[in-house]
Each structure stands twice: as C-alpha cells, then as structure tokens.
C-alpha cells in the first residue's frame, strides 16, 4: 500500500506509508528509537519491550517495532514514562545476566551493554535467580553461551527467514525458556549449516564465533571490506584483522548480493590464509641451478632461492623455449581465483610476450 499517513514523532510531522510500523517510519526519517529484538533484515517480533513509545489516545505504551502507522498518530519516543519503562525492562534482563562484561567477548559490540549505558542501568536493582547453563563449544564454529541469551529470538528468525532451515527454536517458557537446536540437541546434530546468520544478528555475546575468542576488542581490530574468495556469488565480507592476522569475519551489511549474510565458507573458512603450509620463499629444482638438464621424469631436489634468482630463471627458460620451439609450445593457465587485473596480465603475457593464444583456466572444470 502506498497511501501516506501523516504522523507526529517528538513534535516532528513526517509522512509515513500505510503498512509501515512506527519504527520503520522513524528509521526512514532518521529518528532514533532503541531496539533489542528488532532487526532490519528480520520480521518484527515485539518481544523485548525496549522500543516502547507513548502514543496519544493509547492507554498503554506500545512497541514501535510492531505498531502500524495510521493517520494522525502523535508519538513520543523519549517521554519520562517511556524511559522509565525501558529502564525497567533492562533491569529485568540484567537481573538474569552474568554481568561479566569485563571479560565478555561482546564488550563494545553488544546492544544490551549499549542500552544499559544509555539508560544508566547497572543491573543491581533486582537480585533474581540466575541461570547457570554450561557453555556449548562442541562445534568448530559457534560458541553458545545461553547465560547471555536475552531470548530476543533474532537468531530463530534469522535461521528461518534468512537461511531458511529452522535449526533454532526456543524451548519451554518463562524462566525455563532457552534456545536450542534441532530437537533440542547441538548445532552439529541439527539441520544447521553454520552459515552464521544467527551470530550475525545476535545482539549479545550468546552466540559467538569460536575463532574470534580472546583475539581482541572491537576497537583493537582493523576492519577491511573485501570480497569472498570461494564461490561465484561474490559476497562482500569484512575481514577483522589484528597483528596481521584475520581474527574474525562478518558480512557487509549493505552489500548488493549478500546484505550482511554469508555461508559457512565465507565466514568461517578463511583461516587457510595463515596455514603453516603457506609457501613463503621461491623454490627451484637443483638441476636448474646447476645449469643441467632433467633426467627422465624425476625432477629432483628443491632449493629455496631469492626472488631474483627464481624470476631470472623463469624468464630465461620461457624465452629459450619460445625461441627454440615456437610460441605455441608454451601454455599458460590463468586463474579463476585471481583478480581481474592479474588475469588481464596473464593474457597480456601470453599474447604479447610469448605470442600464443594457449591460455585457459578452470572454467571448464
């Protein structure tokens, strides 16, 4: 529905569209309403009551994330009543929260912490019973700490709406409620595909990438946006780097293809970059250094050499073979894993300097 509705938020008149929620309209006009369970990529849930707003002629406060706009609404996002209600909700959440922010992985990257800061809530007002769930670190990718879970169901919705597999749900109700996987088992024994969408949207430290644990605070990480090196979908990913090591990977939120989400390889499969098998020095066969020829099919020993030695040798041999046997006696395999610029250069090398069209790559394979 494209019909407009004029609403007033904090004294400002804005044009909203029918079918929008108050939160959506406010966001579109740059008006801040705090949220916890709502996430722009997910359908609204209305579970946390952090987004409560005061609406004229409504008896009770209403969640902005589910309340639909209509003509003439007059809304207050930060009235004293609203602030009091938010504080109360936060106090309740914190009464069953570990409050170990000092050592929590999510510090600096936690919506609950940000809201507690914003509203000056310390978590010592109500002394309630606290859960003592064991931490589940049994799969290679995602650590599950239910003690930090605020049951916002963002992960449940991400798994169902973004990835489409429904591996997560909330089991039981009330104080006994907790998130579980499959038929209440571990992630690896559920339909989970480890896409990490749930981690991406979790507002707290309840779901955390295993590889990032203990590797640094958000402000210690250098963040670089790039493109996944696996499949042809071309998801944009953000590499988080510390001391020249990738310590975490997240999706790029406004990326045209993946909108912040990835698959298991793009998010959790980049540690090959640091594998001890990496080649770090050029190598040539000993017979080449001795100026000899190869005997039969055995190529013999490797010798590590400096770059100049290796590059001189490669160019000398290529020229020799080109000039002895002709340009078409040389073939080059360029690479679907390398950049456009590198592929262009390989094509130029073959056609300009070798003089052959013998160039191909594994598109066929």
């Amino acid at each position: 529905m494209m019909e407009k509705a004029t609403i007033t938020i904090d004294g400002r008149k804005i044009q909203a569209r029918y079918g929008q929620t108050i939160l959506q309209a406010a966001r579109e006009h740059g008006i801040y309403i705090p949220v916890l369970c709502d996430h722009p990529a997910l359908p609204p849930e209305g579970a946390c009551r952090i987004c409560l707003v005061e609406i004229e002629r409504q008896r009770t406060l209403q969640p902005a994330c589910t309340f639909p706009v209509s003509e003439g609404l007059v809304i207050y996002t930060h009235s004293p009543k609203v602030i009091e209600a938010r504080k109360f909700s936060l106090e309740l959440l914190l009464s069953d929260h570990p409050l170990d922010c000092m050592t929590c992985e999510a510090t600096g990257n936690c919506l609950l912490q940000d809201l507690a800061y914003e509203y000056g809530v310390t978590g010592d007002r109500y002394q309630g019973e606290k859960h003592q769930y064991p931490i589940d670190a049994s799969n290679p990718f995602i650590v599950v700490d239910r003690n930090k879970c605020i049951l916002c169901r963002r992960c449940v919705r991400a798994c169902a709406y973004i990835n489409g597999v429904e591996a997560i749900s909330v089991f039981y109700r009330g104080f006994n409620a907790y998130i579980g996987f499959g038929a209440d088992s571990t992630m690896q024994d559920s339909p989970c595909e480890f896409c990490g969408s749930c981690v991406e949207v979790c507002p707290t430290g309840a779901l955390w990438p295993k590889m990032a644990i203990g590797k640094g605070r958000p402000y210690q990480l250098q963040k670089v946006q790039t493109v996944c090196a696996y499949c042809g979908v071309g998801c944009q990913i953000e590499l988080q780097v510390r001391n020249n090591r990738i310590v975490n990977v997240v999706g790029v939120e406004n990326a045209p293809v993946n909108q912040g989400f990835t698959c298991v390889k793009g998010r959790f499969g980049n540690d090959f970059v640091h594998h001890p098998d990496r080649l770090t020095r050029p190598r040539v066969r000993k017979y080449l250094l001795e100026g000899g020829k190869r005997e039969g099919k055995e190529r013999g020993e490797w010798v590590e050499v400096d770059w100049d030695t290796a590059l001189d040798l490669v160019s000398r041999k290529l020229v020799e073979i080109r000039d002895t046997y002709g340009s078409d006696s040389i073939g080059v395999l360029t690479s679907a894993k390398c950049t456009n610029e590198e592929n262009y250069l390989m094509n130029k090398l073959a056609r300009q300097l070798i003089g052959t069209n013998n160039i191909d790559h594994c598109a066929r394979l």
Partner: protein, 557 residues
C-alpha cells in the same frame, strides 16, 4: 559458456541475483546444487519459496537439499538433461503454451527447432529420463502458466559431452516461454569459482581477448598488436583439456600455471600425472604446495586474496573491489607483481627473438598498483570501459557492460534486443553419455562438491573448522545398492573405473538414485577425478564429469 553466446551473442548470466530471487514466479533449477555450491543464492531461493510462495522446479538426479523446498522434483537419470528439456518443450508446444509474440518478433530458427521436438513426445522423454509422463506434463504446465520463470543451472548442465547442447536447450526453453530480457526471468548459469567470470572477461580463454573480442578477427588482432606493440596470433589456442595431453605428446614444452591445481581439478588424474611428468618445464605460482607442486620446476609464492588489491567479477557480472587486509606472508608477493617482474625480464632479455615495440601505448609493464592495470583494461575492453577504482572506492558496484565513467552498469542483458540481434533457436538432439554402465562397470558415477569444501580442497582442507566438520571423502550410495554389494556394517567401498580406483567411506543415503553413486574431488587420498572420464564436449572442451561408469565393492575397513 559457448552455448549462450551462440543463442544470444553473450554467454553470461542475463539477470542479477537480486532481480531473479525477488521477482521470479517460478525457479527452474537444473544441474545446480544451489544451497551447497552457491549458498547465498540457495538461501534466497528458499526465502522466495517460503516468504512469497514462489514455485520451484528442481531437475536433478540426486535428492539435493533444495528438493525439500521444491514444488516438483524431476529426478531424471544422469546425462539425460537434453531429453528432459526437449520433452518439456514438446508438451509446451503441443498445448500452444509458447509465447508466440516473442518468438515472432525476437527470434529465428523456430521451424527447424520445432521439427526436432517432434522426436520427443512424452512417452519417449519419459522412457529416456525415467521421469513419469504425468510429472513431465505437470512441470511443463507450471512453467507455461507462471511467468516469469528464471532458469538457473551450473556444472550439472555443462559438464557433459553434450554440455553446450544442454545450454542451447535451456536457451530454447526460455525463448519459447518469452522469459528473456525481463525481470525475474532469464538464463542464469551460476559460475563456480569466485572469479571465473572475470578470468573469462579478461581474456583468460584461448579464443578471445579481453571482453570477448575474438582472436580470429583481423580487426581485433590489429587493435591488440597496436596496443601491445607485438604481432598477434590469429590462431585459436589450446584449452586446458588440450594443453595437458599436448604436454605428453611433446607439443607443449612449458606450462606457466597460476593458482590452478590440475591434479585435483582435471578429469582422469592418472593421465594428468603422466602428462605433467613429461612436460619439460613447469612454473607454478601458488600459495600452497598443492598436489600439482611435485610436477613443477619452479615454485613462485603468491598471496591470498587478503593480501592484495584488485577486483573480482561475480556470477552476475558484478565488479567488486578486493581490498588488502594483510601484509604478504614471508617473502610471498601478489600475483600481479610476480607477473610484472617476469614480463619485464622477458621484455629486456637481450637474446630474445620476439620483438616488442615498447613505444606502443600499452606495451610496457610499469604497474605500481592494480588500478593502473585497470586503466589499461578500461582502454582495451569496452564492457569494462567505465570501471574506475575511484568509483569502486566510493562504494559503487556495477554489472558489466559499464560503457563509460558515468554509465551505471547493466543489471539485465538482452532487454529489447539480443547482443546478436535476434535470438537463435537451436535444433539439438539428445545423445547418451559417452560412457554408460555395463556388466563390468554397472554404476553411474557423478561428481561434484559439498557445502563445507571447495574445488580441489586446497583452501578448505587447510581451514580447521571446515576440515573438522567434513574431515574425509564420502561416497554417496543408495541403500538398495549398499545392500546389494553387501555393505552391511562395513562402511568402506572401493570404486573402480576404466582409469583408476579409489577407496573411501560410504554414505548410505537416498540422496542418490539406485544405480548411481556420487563422489567429490576435495581430498587427494580419494579424489573422484581418479575415476572420471576425459571425454570432452566437442565445442566447449568441457569433460564429462557428471557421468562415467564404475564398479563398486565393499572392502574391509
């Protein structure tokens, strides 16, 4: 993508991922295990099915995960895609469901094509494919009565001896239904590796310069010899599947291999080994000591994507910026730098006999940064003319053709007009796979990849988590077959083809049809490519990875 180039004059995915997944009313997914091979596209198809009730027709010999979301599953026998497609089109025509206006205005070759379809009445198509006539009818009707339909495929269509014909048949289908050049429709081949599209765009093919300018064209040869200051060969070069055997035959003396692993990725591994053994001189530029490395004479350490800048072009022709996040490890260097160093040494080699006029506008190799290489590409590859680093750095991304600095790119190809003018219907007949099961080799082997690994496994076997979750090769076999070969309790099988033999753990599952097994090529200790058949499609030179005949035995573990 020779097939699409024949039909439309351009071989790339015609629509964008966003467009297809948001607007298609029907997805026809054939020969693509999308959720495992292109997971984010798989995700979006699942979202479309669940959230907006899009219809999904999956044609695949295996019970792939996407089947759980499908309206219809056409479980045709491996290698019978063409009979399936022709059979569906026969039904569409017989019922007058074709888009007559589109056919009349935008295509040619219809009558010839129509005549061939006469050979595929439902009982024939059903007999060949093993799909019931009712199901064929139902699928054809769904396709014809719900527009737009997006056709999506991958290697399951191309890796056959008649792969090009399969693609032509898909192009036929989409023209027949008028699903070309419109949002939510199109022909959408999903490219495998992250930059296959870019490698093709940049002239990494034996028959074309960058931006698909043919090497056989005198005009193109003149353009590039003027640009690069050297004479150009107008002879089409060898494909990888020709070069490697040519090394054994002595025609190829040297191979310069950049970040490819033919021992893992090519068909018939044992044969590839003897070819590489015979090659006089092999340079391998790689980040790991791969399975191909023992055959190299020189190893040049390149860097990973995280240690360099450049651009990648994804399967929907979208050009995106790769940014450097890490300093190169040890003495390793970015591939563009290595190539530049080698090239400059060849250029200045005093005894070299090939003369290059270094005064020509793009003869030199003075690159200090990949953006300078892109400027050269802008000048020589028309579809990349407007791809500027300044734009990409601002966060712009676009799909080629990008005709100039202000051009926004091209999300949908073939709108109103095909690159070649009229779309061409091709009359293509079904031919059985090159190697069919017989008494000695009674099973069909099909190969592919799994979610947690990638290609030859060079990267994913070196990722701790991925290896932990999928640590060893598994061979999928149907429960009936497992029982028949006496696989009770014993979980290992030996699989033998005319070319070699591997042993691995069996995964007893009805993901595969009886009589068929499925294996991957991620692990060197039991790579399916030891078994595969290097029978090539005569046009695309793609090997028939998806069908070969094997024997399967239970072994003591």
């Amino acid at each position: 993508m020779a097939g699409l180039a024949t039909a439309f004059g351009s071989g790339a995915m015609s629509n964008s991922i966003e467009d297809v997944t948001q607007k298609a009313k029907v997805f026809f997914v054939i020969g693509s295990n999308t959720t495992e091979q292109h997971p984010i596209i798989g995700m979006k198809i699942r979202q479309a099915v669940r959230q907006r009730n899009a219809l999904l027709i999956v044609a695949d010999p295996r019970q792939i995960p996407l089947v759980d979301f499908a309206t219809l599953h056409l479980q045709h026998k491996p290698g019978t895609d063409l009979a399936l497609l022709n059979g569906l089109m026969h039904i569409i025509l017989k019922n007058g469901w074709e888009d007559k206006e589109f056919i009349a205005e935008r295509t040619e070759g219809f009558e010839e094509f129509k005549a061939v379809l006469e050979h595929y009445p439902p009982h024939v198509a059903s007999e060949i494919t093993g799909v019931s006539e009712d199901l064929l009818y139902e699928a054809a009707q769904l396709m014809a009565t719900n527009k737009p339909m997006a056709a999506i495929w991958a290697m399951g269509i191309t890796q056959h001896i008649k792969g090009v014909h399969n693609v032509l048949a898909l192009a036929n289908l989409q023209m027949l239904l008028g699903n070309i050049g419109i949002p939510g429709g199109g022909v959408n081949p999903l490219r495998g590796q992250n930059n296959v599209q870019g490698a093709c765009d940049m002239g990494g093919l034996p028959n074309v310069y960058p931006a698909y300018q043919p090497v056989t064209s005198e005009e193109a040869a003149k353009k590039f010899s003027q640009a690069w200051g050297a004479p150009m060969s107008t002879k089409v070069g060898m494909t990888v599947t020709e070069m490697i055997p040519a090394a054994k035959a002595g025609h190829i003396k040297a191979l310069y291999i950049m970040a490819e692993d033919p021992i893992m990725s090519d068909a018939d591994t044992n044969h590839v080994r003897t070819c590489l053994e015979a090659c006089e001189f092999i340079v391998l530029q790689e980040i790991f000591y791969t399975e191909t490395a023992p055959y190299a004479d020189v190893l040049l350490p390149g860097v990973s994507f995280a240690e360099k800048c450049g651009t990648f072009t994804n399967t929907e022709r979208r050009i995106q910026l790769v940014r450097q996040a890490l300093q190169p490890l040890g003495e390793a260097r970015p591939d563009w730098q290595i190539l530049t160093e080698v090239a400059n040494r060849i250029l200045t080699n005093p005894s070299g006999q090939r003369k290059v006029d270094t005064q020509a506008p793009y003869a030199r190799w003075d690159y200090q940064h990949p953006s300078q290489i892109m400027e050269e590409i802008n000048a020589l590859a028309p579809s990349y003319a407007g791809v500027k680093y300044t734009r990409l750095e601002r966060g712009e991304t676009f799909q080629w053709p990008v005709l100039d600095e202000n051009h926004p790119g091209t999300p949908i190809l073939h709108v109103g007009k095909f690159a070649r003018g009229l779309g061409k219907f091709s009359a293509v007949e079904y031919i059985p796979p090159a190697e069919l099961p017989d008494e000695n080799y009674p099973f069909i082997l099909s190969t592919g990849r799994v979610l947690y690994h990638w290609h030859g496994g060079e990267l994913t076997r070196r990722s701790q988590g991925l290896l932990e979750i999928y640590p060893k090769p598994l061979i999928e076999i149907h429960p009936e077959d497992a029982e028949r070969i006496g696989l009770n309790g014993r979980r290992r099988v030996r699989v033998t083809s005319r070319r070699g033999s591997i042993e691995a753990e069996a995964w007893i599952t009805d993901r595969v049809l009886p009589g068929m097994i499925y294996a991957n090529f991620h692990f060197p200790e039991a790579s399916a490519n030891v078994l595969t058949h290097a029978a090539l499609d005569p046009i695309s030179k793609i090997p028939e990875f998806k069908v070969c005949a094997v024997r399967v035995e239970a072994v003591e573990s």
